[in-house]
Subunit: 125 residues, 4 copies
């Protein structure tokens, strides 16, 4: 799926670029929309195990940004979401990366298998 971002003036650092850490927040915005679409509620029953980002080109003040999210790998208890942050005008790649999520039962405090309906929903995003 693809979601327009609302960059904030405070996202930009003293070089006028979106700060490197902010991309993980952009990934999170995409993830929250993707999760809401997949399961219909906002409460995340997962843990982030890993994250990685490759910075392709700086995003400057005033440039409109969009984020793309796809489930690029689905394992038994974990799945990978891949992201691309793009300039909305020409799809120039600003940054891309991925996060690994582990399905988690916050009551039992243990990882659990991905339910079949969630698996199907993740594949549709």
């Amino acid at each position: 799926m693809r979601v327009s971002l609302q960059p904030r003036y405070s996202d930009y650092d003293s070089r006028g670029h979106v700060n490197n850490a902010v991309y993980l927040t952009y990934f999170e915005i995409g993830r929250v929309y993707a999760w809401l679409e997949a399961v219909g509620h906002a409460d995340p029953n997962f843990i982030i195990a890993e994250a990685r980002i490759t910075y392709r080109s700086p995003a400057m003040l005033g440039e409109p940004l969009v984020i793309e999210v796809t489930a690029s790998e689905i394992r038994n208890k974990a799945w990978v979401w891949s992201y691309r942050v793009l300039d909305e005008r020409d799809d120039r790649v600003v940054a891309e990366g991925a996060t690994t999520q582990v399905m988690y039962d916050y009551v039992q405090r243990t990882s659990v298998p991905i339910p079949d309906d969630l698996r199907a929903a993740l594949q549709r995003i």
Copy 2:
């Protein structure tokens, strides 16, 4: 009380100044230390009702900053903390302001009077 801040590169905006919103976070850092000193634990039993800031001079990258906190007014159910963010080298005033806290019972979901021992502790800070 007086606490050294640890400015972050991401606190600075594209003009190289600490972003205006970050000062409320600096106030919060001072407030957390003050609260911990007053009551001995970190859990805040209050609600922030109001905040105000006056910006005196910009804080630039590399300048060491410190925050001062004092309880400037203590009423029945509320008190005011006043803050000054200073350049640690020469006490130049960067920003000053205040927040009003209302004592709050999160179980009963209502404001409550400030207990006597907290009142005494607030006066000592």
Copy 3:
């Protein structure tokens, strides 16, 4: 003017409320849109001199938020923008406040009068 906000998961603190400092960032989002509408470019030729916020009701995860901005006072070299953050569904007031801007010449490093065309534009917002 009125602008929908895109709240971020990281805006919420450990009580599940939008953190008190984030409202100044929400004000800034409204301000950037207002400035762009008034002058046609994003570069802000002003300094923030003061900010104040009154917190009316907490904003919880999942609640859609909108910000309203109006120029509530226009003086010779400064003007006040007033803001309201609302629940987009029923206009419940979450927070309201204001910032005072001083027109500034960054080359001469001095405050300057508000140009007539900007004055007119500010009144239309």
Copy 4:
């Protein structure tokens, strides 16, 4: 090198954990100290090309945190800084990761070899 962090209340999300994106900001705090120690000034002549994080255990409100930084790989034009965020009391690993920096000439707008004195300084950190 090893630097104590000053966690902020706004670093914690609605589960009471340090938000996943904040660790890149913690890495940046360590990096700024490391850079200052290596070259004696704060201005970073490099570009971040990649970042990755593995989340080991959640960091909760009130836990004191420290960051370790080491130059784990030094190539011709790039080097890798590796980081560990630890609980300061018992060195429990909270998160670890790395960023790849490319030496950059902001005037010529091109990557450049790492100067010998910087190479030596990076190895000492």
